[in-house]
C-alpha cells in the first residue's frame, strides 16, 4: 500500500489539531507503509505504536472521568429522591404525632371523667354518707375516692361514712392498702366508718395487712349500716 496523499505527519493543518484528534487520526495509520511491512521505518512504527497506546490510555482516562461524573449525577438524583422521601416521612410522622397527641389528650380526659364517676359519694341521710366501691382500686382511683370522701365529710359535717365493698369480689395487697388509707383518713376526721359487703376474699386480704377490726364497724349490708347510724343519731 502506498502512503496517503495527505499524510498526517506532513499536512499543514496537523499542528493545529488537538492532541486527541491528532492521536485519533494517527491511530488509523496502521496500513501505512511507513508503519507496517518491509518499508516500515522502525522509529515511525514505534512512534505510531506509542501514540496508539497513549490514545488508548487517554480514552480510558476520559472514560473513567465520564463514569465518575455520571455516577455523581446519579447519586445526586438519588439524594434528591431520598431527601424528598425523608421530607414526606417527616410530614407523615408529624401528622401521626398530632393525631396521637389528640388521642392521648382525649384518653386522659375520659380517664378523669371515669375516675370521677368511679368514686360517687351518696348522701343517705343527715350526717350519713356512703361510698360504694365497684371494681379494681388502684392508686389513682384511691386518691380520687379519698379526696371525694374527705371533702364530703367536712362539707356535709357527716359523722358516719359507709364504705360498701359489695362490688369488690377480690382485692390485691395494693388495693387493700389503699382502702385502709381511706378508712384511716376518715377516722382522723372523726367520722365513724362502717364497712359493709365485705366478702371472704377481701376480708382475708385485709386481715393479712395492718387492719385492726376493732377500729371499724363491719356489717353485712348498707341497709343494716344505715339503720345503725339512724339509731345512733336518735340516741344522741
Amino acid at each position: 500500500m502506498s502512503r496517503c496523499a495527505s499524510c498526517l505527519l506532513e499536512r499543514q493543518d496537523a499542528s493545529s489539531l488537538s492532541p486527541e484528534d491528532f492521536q485519533e487520526q494517527l491511530s488509523q495509520c496502521t496500513e501505512c507503509p511507513l508503519v507496517s511491512g518491509e518499508t516500515a521505518i522502525p522509529a515511525i512504527r514505534l512512534l505510531v505504536q506509542k501514540q496508539r497506546d497513549a490514545a488508548r490510555a487517554s480514552r480510558k482516562q476520559r472514560n473513567e472521568t465520564n463514569k465518575l461524573r455520571t455516577e455523581m449525577e446519579d447519586l445526586r438524583a438519588e439524594s434528591h429522591k431520598y431527601e424528598d422521601r425523608v421530607m414526606r416521612l417527616e410530614v407523615l410522622h408529624q401528622t401521626t404525632t398530632q393525631e396521637l397527641e389528640a388521642q392521648v389528650a382525649l384518653a386522659r380526659e375520659q380517664e378523669q371523667t371515669l375516675r370521677a364517676l368511679s368514686a360517687p359519694i351518696l348522701r343517705l341521710s343527715k350526717g350519713v354518707i356512703a361510698l360504694p366501691v365497684i371494681g379494681r382500686v388502684d392508686a389513682a382511683r384511691a386518691d380520687v375516692m379519698m379526696k371525694n370522701l374527705l371533702a364530703e365529710l367536712s362539707e356535709r359535717q357527716a359523722n358516719s361514712a359507709i364504705l360498701d365493698l359489695t362490688g369488690v369480689s377480690e382485692i390485691d395487697g395494693e388495693a387493700a392498702n389503699h382502702l385502709l388509707r381511706i378508712l384511716s383518713a376518715a377516722r382522723l376526721l372523726g367520722a365513724e366508718v362502717l364497712l359493709t359487703g365485705l366478702r371472704g376474699e377481701v376480708a382475708r386480704m385485709l386481715v393479712g395487712l395492718d387492719f385492726d377490726p376493732s377500729r371499724f364497724t363491719t356489717l353485712a349490708t348498707v341497709e343494716e349500716a344505715l339503720r345503725r347510724c339512724m339509731s345512733r343519731a336518735r340516741s344522741h
Binding site: 480514552r59 476520559r62 472514560n63 463514569k67 461524573r69 455520571t70 449525577e73 446519579d74 438519588e78 407523615l92
Partner: protein, 407 residues
Amino acid sequence: MVPAVPLPALESRIMLRAATVSIVHEDAFLAGRDAGRELLEELGEAPSLVVVFASSRYDQAQMLAGLGAALPATTRIAGCSSTAEIDNKEALVGSVTAMGLCLSGAVGCETFRLLAPIDDPYASGRAFGETIKAKNPALLLLFPDGLAMNNAPFLLGLQESLGPQFPIFGGVPGEAALGFVNTYEYEGREAFSGGVSAIALTGPVEVVTAAAAGFQPVGVARTATRVEGGRTIYELDGIPALTLYRQYLGTRANDMPIVGLEFPLGIVGGTIGTQRLPMGEAVSVIRGVNSFDEATLALRCLGEIPQGAQITMTRATKDDLLRAAADAAASALAKMPKPEAVFFFSCAGRKLVLGSRFKEEAEKALSAFSPDVPKIGFYTYGELSPVEGTTMYHDETFTVALLREKP
C-alpha cells in the same frame, strides 16, 4: 531436543473466550465506537458476537453505528437498552457495556429479530420459535419489549416451538429514566422498539441459571379470583384487590409507583402458562404493582398474574435484596463452578428500591466469581429465568446465567 509443552488439562482450558468493556461518553457514536475498539484491543481479534446493553439516554442508532463502525461486518451484534448496566467490576449508569465473544469452531451463534407490531404475542412467539428452531439452537438469550407486548403469552408460544424446558434466559429492555415510555432492542446494527431481539448459541454449549428476589411473604395467601387482560387483578378472595392492598399498606398505598415496587405481590402457587408452580409458603415469582384504578379498585401488575393463582403480599429490606443477589450467584456457581461467561439480569425496580445502595447488589454477585471470568448484565423491566426448568417472566428478581462450552 525441544522440551514438550504440556497442553493444559481439558478442565482448565478456557474454550469460550470473551471480554467485557463499558464506555461512558457524551457522544453516542463515540461511545459505541470506543466500546468496539476496546473490545478489539481486549480480545486481540474480532469477536464473533457482541452482546450490548446501553443506556437509553444515548441516541440508539448513533451508538450502534459507532459500535458497528469499529467492528468488522462479520461480527454479530444483539442486545437492548437498559436502566443501568453491569460490567466486570461494577454496576454503572449511562454506559455502553458490551461483551465480545470469540466462539470456537464448534460453538456458533445466530441473532434474530422480530419487529413491531406484535398483535398476537402467542402466535408470534410460536412462529419466532420455529425460525430459531431451524438453526438447531442449544440455548437462547432473549430481549423482548415489555412496554408494547405481554411477554407471558409470547414466551408460551416460544416454548411451544422450542419445548417447555428449552433454556431461555435474558431480560426485558429497560430505560434510564424509568418512564415506561420507550425501550429498544438491538439486532445487527439497528435499534427498534416494540419488538424482540434474540441470540441463539449453537453447538456444545451449556448454561445454568439461578434466580432470587429476597421478598418474603406476609400474611395469608389469597386466590386471584378475578383477573382481566392477564395483568389487572380486580379481586383476591372475592375482595377488591386495591382494598386489600390498602389494608396492608395504609395510606402508603397511594405512593405509586415506588410503593408498588417496594411491596410487590408474590405468587406462591397456581399455574402460569403450562407450568404448575409448587404450592407452599415460598414465593415462586414476584409481580410488581405498576398502578391502581380507583374506580374499579383494581391493581395493575407489570407481569402476568393468572386467575386462580395464590397471591401473598410481600416485603423486604434492602439487606434482604442484597442477600438475594449473593444467594443467586452462589447458587448458580454451585451448579457450574467454572463458567466461561456470566450474565446478570436484575430488575430496574430493585435499583429504585435500593437507591444509592444499588451498586452493592452487583458487588455482592460479582464477588462470587473469579475476576478473570467475563461478566455482563443490565437492569431490566423484567427478567427471564427458569423456575424448575421452565423459563418464566419475573419481576424484581436478581437472575444469573452461567455459560460454558462443553468440554
